[in-house]
């Protein structure tokens, strides 16, 4: 064995020491990464979404669009008012409803309903939508986000819990016709 390849006692211990630290670091990385990723893993399991009542059906006049609020199902003690969320409820007629997120499909600013001109307008970048949520003009690439809804015991109930964003994979936020269930 040549001199260069000879492993000294101290050299071996140093390498073992580094290896030992590496093992401990890997073991510690598991809880750290799981802690950091908890907000993602929880979302993947779908536990953010629930069915939330917005009010009695007859609180919403036919042919009109009204602002309703609901409390986000996932609450932390320091959330304050941020868990209260608004949405636009359009009662077409009878039990036919559409419930839109207030967040503009462009960049999430709160859209406002103008009954006189029959448009939702966004104050940020000038997006506009028709009364059925379809895109009318401006930078949005699509119509307003729509919450899935159902009517139970005379209550209009929506499935919500996540911030609607243009790229969200929450299939529920697509521009699909309301599903009656």
């Amino acid at each position: 064995m040549s001199d260069e390849n000879k492993i000294s006692r101290r050299g071996l211990f140093m390498k073992l020491g580094i290896l030992f630290n590496g093992l401990v670091a890997t073991a510690l990385a598991v809880p750290i990464v799981r802690f950091l990723a908890s907000s993602v893993t929880r979302g993947r399991s779908g536990s953010y979404l629930s069915w939330l009542p917005l009010g009695r059906v007859n609180e919403f006049p036919e042919g009109e669009t009204r602002l309703a609020t609901f409390r986000n199902p996932y609450v932390m003690p320091t959330d304050g008012k941020t868990v209260d969320t608004a949405c636009w409820v359009r009662r077409i007629e009878g039990e036919q409803f559409q419930v839109f997120a207030v967040n503009c499909a462009h960049l999430g600013c709160p859209v406002r309903w103008f009954p006189q001109s029959g448009l939702f307008m966004c104050p940020c970048h000038g997006g506009a939508y028709y009364r059925d949520g379809a895109r009318a003009s401006g930078p949005p690439e699509r119509g307003l986000f729509e919450y899935p809804h159902k009517i139970e015991n005379g209550l209009i109930t929506i499935q919500a819990g996540e911030l609607p964003t243009p790229g969200a994979n929450v299939a529920l936020l697509g521009n699909k016709p309301p599903c009656a269930s």
């Binding site: 986000n72 304050g80 868990v83 970048h125 911030l163 964003t165 790229g167």
Partner: protein, 495 residues
């Protein structure tokens, strides 16, 4: 004095820092770098230290909790002695820091200081710029008001557009499914621990390299940088013809640092703190969120990009800009340093400055946004109603009630989203007006479903009166002929 000297000696025997500090202070610099153009780096450092100090002071009162942040800011503004002033210093300090860092960067670029051997100093500087912008954005979030809340929404909407990983990034960024307590807490951690820690480390390395490699000499037109000879040439400039940094050059840095601090304090005193605006309550939707000054250009850009270009620009643009800045010292690491002989460099800086300036200016009055209160606001000006028929006045009423002025101005009142309508009758014939109102197009929503035929007729009759005195409204000549023939035939039939 002797006692002081003895105490100093006692410490230095243990710390052994006096010699290296003296060496750094007295390191020779080229004589012509003792210029007022070379003060921006030290000014940026000064403002950074000010931000550290005022930031720590604010943290004594501020509560990073979504339920209490807003009220703790109100307490700072109104209850705590001089709390408003410390907030104002921190807010204005942030604006000054971004501005000075940008000026420093432009000066460094125009003086060719990014060239050999200072490439890494430039690269660290690019990261320092990004961190400064990161501090500016996260700081705006900590001012947890309506702007901060909806600003986070915009951030999340942009992040969500990343292919595949978008929703994951949004959940990571928000710390949960929505903008709430966890979001504020993680931006607090970023703003107070993570980014400042990185900033301190990067600033230290940046300064170390300035000392080790020497400050960039004043660029002389025609004196080219060559990798083979530059170190020797610089050595001649410093060792043979240089002067010690302290006190030969430092006095200008000191004066400018004091001046900048005074300017921040003056702005803080005169203009006061920024916000907070309304409470971060997502059920209050009567709000017009706007970013802070240094992101206004982005706000304008997001309104003006065509929808199809937006996502690619948002996701690819920043990468290209950052990679371009990082590669710059390798693409032009040698050659001419003086801006007098680098016209493309000067034009690039001017082009970027004018572009950002124009976008920022546009964002100041947001011509793309509808005026949300036009209907409840001003009535149709009187001059447009005088000597009008009943139908035309009915049209003016439709015009007002259907909120056309959210987007169109009349008599200089109203939105600028669509064209001003003062002389629309000159531009469009009756048929074109009807088509535009009913079908929309060119960024105008279609109003067909929203207007009865009678309302449309009245509205168009009113629009047809909108032309300057002495100019006849546009008309379709073929239509006249068609009508004439029609009338002639009718007359024939009558006979």
């Amino acid at each position: 004095m002797r006692l002081l000297a003895q105490i100093g000696e006692w410490f230095d025997r243990r710390l052994q820092l006096a010699t290296p500090i003296r060496e750094v202070a007295e390191h020779p610099v080229p004589r012509n770098t003792a210029s007022w153009w070379y003060v921006f780096g030290s000014a940026a450092l000064t403002v950074f230290l000010l931000q550290l100090a005022t930031g720590i002071l604010l943290a004594l009162i501020y509560v990073p909790s979504a339920s209490e942040a807003w009220s703790s800011l109100q307490a700072l503004n109104h209850d705590v002695t001089l709390g408003w002033f410390i907030r104002a210093m921190h807010g204005w300090g942030s604006n000054f820091m971004v501005a000075i860092v940008l000026i420093h960067m432009v000066q460094v670029f125009l003086f060719g200081a990014h060239k050999f051997p200072r490439e890494l100093t430039w690269i660290l500087g690019v990261f320092l710029l990004l961190m400064t912008l990161g501090m500016a954005f996260s700081g705006q979030v900590l001012r947890f008001d309506q702007d901060a809340y909806w600003g986070l929404g915009i951030g999340a909407s942009i992040a969500s557009r990343v292919p595949i990983a978008g929703p994951t990034i949004v959940n990571l960024m928000l710390g949960g499914p929505i903008i709430a307590g966890a979001t504020l807490s993680r931006f607090f951690a970023l703003h107070v621990f993570v980014i400042p820690g990185m900033l301190i480390g990067f600033v230290a390395l940046h300064l170390l390299m300035v000392v080790k490699l020497g400050i960039n000499e004043w660029p002389m037109p025609g004196r080219l940088v060559r990798r083979a000879s530059y170190i020797n040439e610089y050595h001649v400039l410093t060792k043979k013809a240089g002067a010690p940094f302290v006190p030969y050059a430092i006095w200008k840095d000191l004066f400018f640092a004091a001046f900048v601090l005074l300017a921040v304090a003056a702005c803080a005193l005169y203009f006061g703190p920024f916000g907070p605006t309304g409470q971060p309550d997502p059920t209050i939707i009567q709000t017009v969120p706007k970013p802070d000054y240094f992101f206004l250009w982005l706000y304008a850009l997001l309104s003006l990009l065509p929808p199809s270009l937006e996502t690619p620009s948002l996701l690819i643009g920043p990468v290209l800009v950052i990679v371009g800045l990082l590669l710059l010292p390798f693409l032009s690491g040698e050659g001419e340093k003086s801006w007098r002989r680098r016209p493309i460099a000067v034009l690039t800086v001017l082009l970027i400055a004018i572009t950002l300036g124009t976008f920022t200016h546009l964002a100041g009055y947001t011509p793309w946004s509808p005026h949300m209160n036009a209907w409840s606001g001003d009535p149709v000006p009187e001059q447009f109603l005088q000597r009008r028929s009943a139908l035309e006045r009915q049209g003016a009423l439709v015009f007002q009630v259907k909120q056309c002025r959210n987007c169109h101005s009349l008599g200089n009142l109203g939105g600028q989203r669509g064209p001003a309508l003062d002389s629309v009758a000159v531009r469009q014939t009756q048929d074109q007006l009807i088509r535009q109102v009913i079908q929309g197009g060119g960024n105008m929503p279609a109003y067909g479903k929203n207007l009865t035929p009678a309302e449309t007729t009245a509205l168009v009759a009113f629009l047809e009166t909108l032309h300057p005195r002495g100019q006849i409204p546009a008309r379709d000549a073929s239509r006249d002929i068609a009508l004439d023939e029609d009338q002639a035939q009718r007359q024939k039939a009558q006979r």
